[in-house]
């Protein structure tokens, strides 16, 4: 039965640990597997960029403050089978899509921006590799923006991420050139984005003064150590709007309406 349902996971475990999970007890500890949230979409699954539809885990629509195994499958099926067949066809049928010339000014502008950005990244030639920055950033988020966090830790993380980002733009060392396959350059672009995303996640966590789902704010717990929500102030999804490079993002709140069930205190006791 276990082999039938979980054979692939047991195999994966065996490869990593070198231990046979069918015989030896499995070593399991809580870890961050997934970051709740995603791109904002409307009920048709379209983002605030017209024509850009976002499906599955990439959007925020069905996420709670927790996310269990196989939720990805549910959302992929729900969005793919039941929503997008209606909404995408409707959008295409009702939208005039003029022919676009890839040589027109906007495209040239973006090409120039990207080339300048790549040139800037490659010209730094500092002392630390992209992987070193990625690991340091990951450790910062792991330690301060993980499952258990405090207001003080989140504030410290916001400062530390900004400092690390600053260091990245002065001291990253990327080998090679932009006109060839260059995975370090590709990864540098992603890590540059991760700094911004990391700051946003920490900022969001900081303003949410409650413990909810997979996020435990140590200041907000019951006397016996259970997560303490604050439904009066935080029964909403936080939606952050990009306000341009370097500018503080703006917070919008989408209230959560519970029509058929009412939120209760969960206890594992």
């Amino acid at each position: 039965m276990i082999r039938d349902k979980y054979g692939n996971l047991f195999e994966m475990y065996e490869r990593i640990t070198g231990e046979n999970p069918y015989e030896a007890p499995m070593r399991i500890y809580p870890a961050i597997h997934y970051t709740m949230g995603g791109l904002w979409v409307d009920y048709a699954l379209m983002s605030n960029t017209p024509g850009l539809f976002v499906l599955g885990e990439a959007n925020f629509s069905d996420h709670g403050a927790n996310r269990l195994g196989a939720s990805a499958l549910m959302q992929g099926l729900a969005d793919g089978y039941f929503v997008i067949p209606y909404t995408l066809g409707d959008y295409l049928a009702n939208t005039a899509l003029d022919k676009i010339n890839p040589e027109q000014g906007e495209f040239q502008g973006v090409r120039n921006d990207v080339n300048a950005w790549l040139k800037q990244l490659l010209s730094i030639q500092g002392k630390k590799t992209v992987l070193q920055f990625h690991r340091e950033l990951g450790l910062l988020l792991w330690n301060h923006v993980g499952m258990s966090r405090t207001g003080a830790g989140l504030k410290a993380a916001l400062g530390a991420i900004a400092a690390l980002e600053e260091e990245f733009w002065h001291d990253v060392r990327i080998p090679g050139s932009p006109d060839m396959l260059n995975k370090n350059l590709e990864m540098a672009g992603r890590v540059a984005d991760f700094f911004e995303l990391g700051k946003l996640i920490a900022l969001d966590a900081l303003q949410r003064e409650e413990s909810c789902g997979g996020h435990f704010r140590e200041e907000h717990q019951t006397p016996d150590g259970e997560a303490l929500r604050n439904d009066e102030k935080f029964c909403h999804v936080s939606v952050w709007q990009y306000k341009g490079k370097g500018a503080e993002p703006a917070l919008h709140r989408e209230p959560l309406d519970f029509e058929f069930v009412s939120p209760t205190q969960r206890s594992y006791k």
């Binding site: 490869r15 089978y81 067949p85 209606y86 066809g89 590799t129 992987l131 060392r173 090679g176 396959l181």
Partner: protein
């Protein structure tokens, strides 16, 4: 923690036109707990700090489920462990002092892009030729409208476990893509959703496979032996039946 001192002989090739060669790199103090790709990360960090070009290789999930990674280790696609992608191969598979040779997947239809990275877009074009099903738009399907018996689902799932890594092509003396293509044809042929395009799919995917320059299957079975997902060559027999039936129906 056990550590190993290794000598890596790695295929270095600057671009598709360049003449490649094996270059030796000594690597000290490799933890046996590392995966093979983590070991290469360590080598690359050293190379970057020394001002040398890092070894390019493909990887993404590093959990053995995405199909991005893959190269040849000591003559075997994905290395010495059976049913294991190179990202899930761990260094405890090796001994102190080992000399390990790394080469890209070699096939005419998989040209080398750089070092250990090959262009596998031929697989994408084969999938585009027929690896899809038609879905009605404008109406959501009834959830229980297409009952699938469990054994059919299991069999289709076994075929769908193919991650498209291309090890089967690299291992085949004919550089045939038959295991990959047959797994894709099978997963659809075994399910009701795959029926509308069933015949056209077999014809189109096989035609695209030939067009890409893959060789034919002559039943060596090397593909199944290296396949990290254990895809059976029974799929190839099914592909042939599907193809014959489609030709006969034309």
């Amino acid at each position: 923690m056990n550590t190993l001192n290794l000598t890596l002989r790695i295929w270095r090739q600057a671009d598709p036109q360049a003449k490649g060669k094996l270059v030796e790199y000594p690597l000290q103090g490799v933890s046996t707990d590392m995966s093979f790709l983590e070991m290469l990360d360590v080598l690359n960090e050293q190379l970057i700090h020394q001002g040398e070009a890092p070894v390019e290789f493909d990887s993404d999930c590093r959990e053995g489920i995405c199909g991005a990674c893959g190269f040849v280790i000591d003559g075997a696609a994905h290395g010495p462990w059976r049913r294991t992608t190179v990202c899930q191969l761990h260094m405890r598979a090796f001994k102190d002092g080992d000399v390990i040779t790394l080469e890209p997947f070699r096939a005419k239809a998989f040209p080398v892009i750089k070092d250990l990275v090959v262009d596998r877009s031929a697989f994408d074009r084969i999938l585009t030729a027929g690896g899809y099903i038609s879905v009605d738009t404008g109406s959501a399907p009834e959830a229980n409208g297409l009952p699938v018996p469990k054994d059919h689902a299991e069999e289709a799932f076994d075929s769908a476990a193919c991650i498209g890594c291309g090890a089967c092509v690299a291992a085949c003396p004919n550089a045939s893509a038959s295991l990959f293509v047959s797994a894709k044809i099978s997963q659809f042929a075994l399910l009701p959703q795959g029926q509308p395009e069933r015949k056209a799919r077999a014809l189109r995917m096989v035609a695209q496979m030939d067009k890409e320059g893959f060789g034919n299957c002559s039943n060596h079975g090397e593909c199944e032996a290296v396949c990290p997902k254990g895809i059976s060559i029974k799929n190839i027999a099914r592909m042939r039946r599907e193809y014959f039936k489609a030709v006969a129906a034309k």
